[in-house]
């Protein structure tokens, strides 16, 4: 055990600095255990024999379709709204920029359930904006698929804005000046120079936002409810079936896990290709 660890550490660590101290090795192994042990249960208790049956049940396919659709729409909404905001934060020196950046990160640290309550009190039927909207148009957003998208966008947007802002900051702003000196307006500079140069960062920001939207639970169930085919996304399906059909719930969990790992793998590739020029 210790031999393999030493050998794998060799390329990055010269022998001269000595062995890896136990005081570091033991907690590090503990951290891995905390991260991976719970997944063991998931694999052991999974009903492998009738996996196919569970996966093809109407409830699961409906939830999967709803999840993929809403997460993708939310990601697109994040791109359309978030990239311009990230550009403003990265390129325009306006008053209150620091405050705006701090506000953007609020949903990041807010418990999603609280986010759901916030959405409800604002856009709900009796909400601050929802009530006049309902009186004027007779339409309310709560307990619809739109509400799912709103909730997912709310929690995923900060991830995208921060990732894209970082990518924009790391591209040389002098390319913008070159473009301007060659006659390109600020809009065309944004489209033809800034966006392509920040491309990899935007892609990884979008993937992060998509993954966050896919796993969204708290804000969705509070704001959009738990209606099959309307707002019961995969995480809500997992939660719902757990009460009545634990094996089914485990199958959906594994499916979510597979999708998440796939996203993570794609993202890692992005990160690695982003590091080497």
């Amino acid at each position: 055990m210790s031999r393999t660890l030493e050998r794998s550490a060799a390329p990055t660590q010269p022998a001269a600095v000595g062995r890896v101290p136990l005081l570091i090795l033991v907690p590090a192994a503990g951290a891995l255990a905390v991260l991976l042990l719970p997944l063991v249960g998931l694999f052991v208790r999974a009903p492998w024999s009738d996996l196919g049956e569970h996966l093809t049940s109407t409830e699961v396919t409906t939830a999967l379709r709803l999840s993929l659709t809403t997460a993708t729409v939310s990601m697109l909404a994040c791109l359309v709204l978030g990239v311009p905001l990230a550009w403003l934060l990265a390129r325009v020196d306006f008053r209150g920029r620091r405050l705006v950046r701090a506000l953007v990160t609020v949903p990041l640290v807010l418990p999603p359930v609280v986010g759901g309550i916030a959405l409800l009190t604002t856009f709900g039927r009796a909400g601050v904006l929802g009530e006049p909207m309902f009186e004027a148009f007779g339409w309310q957003v709560t307990f619809t698929t739109t509400a799912v998208v709103v909730a997912q966008t709310f929690v995923a947007l900060p991830f995208l804005v921060l990732a894209v802002e970082g990518a924009l900051r790391s591209t040389d702003p002098r390319y913008d000046e070159v473009a301007a000196s060659l006659g390109a307006s600020r809009w065309w500079t944004f489209v033809r120079v800034t966006l392509p140069l920040a491309g990899p960062g935007i892609v990884s920001g979008a993937v992060l936002a998509w993954a966050r939207a896919l796993g969204e639970f708290g804000a969705t169930i509070t704001f959009a409810g738990n209606l099959e085919g309307v707002s019961r996304t995969m995480p809500l399906e997992v939660y719902t079936t757990w009460q009545t059909d634990a094996p089914g719930s485990i199958v959906v969990s594994l499916l979510l896990l597979a999708v998440s790992i796939g996203v993570l793998a794609a993202l890692r590739e992005r990160w690695i290709s982003g590091v080497s020029p």
């Binding site: 002098r174 390319y175 000046e177 301007a180 000196s181 060659l182 006659g183 390109a184 307006s185 392509p196």
Partner: protein, 363 residues
């Protein structure tokens, strides 16, 4: 075409007419560059003198604190009225120090960038770009990405990109300084060949005397944000007015006060000029005009000063000695002569210069 303000008769206003004050960190840069169409003005000076700030002000990237910029009679900047035309609307061609070709575009699309934003279709812009690449003999690189080019090739593409936007004003910001010596020679020759056919005024920023001598029609020497000398390249090269330019040109420069027969340099040093010298004067001479001796030489009409060897370094096929003392000097001697002298760093020497080798001019 963009609508323009009514123009004064072109014969008087053609070209660049500017009077600029702009902030650069802790100091203000002031200069009044004027360049006629087809002419090249070099802004020459040490790093940090404010040359690039002037160029950025001309390009609309740095605001003026006072003054104006007019191009062919059109006001681009006027601090008194608040007029400020955006960089994108100035019809410029700019070449930056490290080229800054767009890394995500091919050479062709880099060169087509300017024509495209002048309103041409993608096809027409590419046709213009291909034409320019043929003219600058870079056709072989058409489909390459900038990362696949050498520094010198990139810089030649960057110049072609600037020319292809058919600029009313061409701005070159230290275009050779990021290159190694041989690439710098290639790019300098390339610029010399292609600037000749540019109808627009050109402003070249450089800290290398050779660039100014090879490419410019007129030179502004800038130090600490101020113009310290202005003139033709040969004038500046032969009669420098600052120690920086003298060092760039490889000349000794002394300043003193003439009383007809002699020039008083300091408390107890004098210089014998070739003719009469009155008032504040500069005196310049080549380091190779300095002769070194280990003992005070005898002779009447010679300039003789004591000094101490402060540094010895090879310089081409001679050896350059830095002398300190009442009259600090550079002296070039052959390696054989240095061996005969048997002096090393820290040794005292006598330096002599014939009066006929010295150029004396009013300060």
């Amino acid at each position: 075409m963009t609508p323009e303000a009514p123009e004064a008769p072109e014969s008087e206003t053609a070209g660049l007419d500017a009077d600029i004050r702009a902030r650069r960190g802790s100091f203000e840069v002031r200069a009044a560059p004027r360049v006629r169409p087809g002419q090249v003005l070099a802004l020459l000076g040490p790093n940090g003198a404010g040359k690039s700030t002037l160029l950025r002000a001309l390009g609309g990237l740095t605001p003026l604190s006072a003054g104006y910029v007019r191009l062919d009679g059109r006001t681009l900047d006027d601090a008194s009225t608040g007029v400020r035309v955006a960089a994108a609307e100035r019809r410029l061609g700019t070449v930056f120090q490290d080229g800054l070709l767009f890394p995500h575009l091919s050479v062709l699309d880099n060169v087509a960038f300017g024509p495209r934003h002048a309103g041409r279709s993608r096809r027409a812009a590419r046709a213009v770009a291909a034409e320019w690449l043929a003219r600058t003999e870079l056709t072989e690189f058409t489909d390459r990405r900038p990362a696949a080019l050498s520094g010198g090739q990139r810089q030649r593409v960057a110049v072609t990109r600037a020319l292809a936007s058919d600029p009313d004003l061409l701005l070159l910001d230290e275009p050779m300084s990021a290159l190694d010596a041989s690439a710098a020679v290639t790019v300098r020759r390339f610029l010399g060949r292609h600037l000749a056919s540019v109808a627009a005024p050109t402003v070249l920023v450089t800290h290398q005397a050779i660039d100014a001598l090879a490419l410019a029609d007129h030179v502004l020497v800038i130090e600490h944000g101020e113009v310290v000398q202005e003139g033709s390249p040969t004038d500046v090269a032969r009669r420098p007015r600052s120690s920086h330019v003298a060092a760039l040109m490889g000349l000794n420069l002394l300043r003193g006060r003439g009383d007809g027969e002699a020039v008083r340099l300091g408390a107890d040093s004098t210089l014998v000029p070739p003719g009469r010298a009155d008032g504040d004067v500069f005196a310049s001479f080549r380091p190779s005009a300095v002769t070194l001796h280990t003992e005070r030489p005898h002779g009447s009409a010679r300039n003789v000063w004591p000094g101490r060897v402060d540094g010895i370094a090879p310089h081409g096929d001679v050896v350059r000695l830095h002398l300190t003392g009442p009259v600090p000097l550079l002296a070039d001697v052959t390696p054989a002569a240095l061996a005969d002298l048997e002096v090393g760093e820290g040794d005292p020497v006598w330096a002599s210069v014939k009066a006929t080798e010295i150029d004396v001019y009013p300060a």
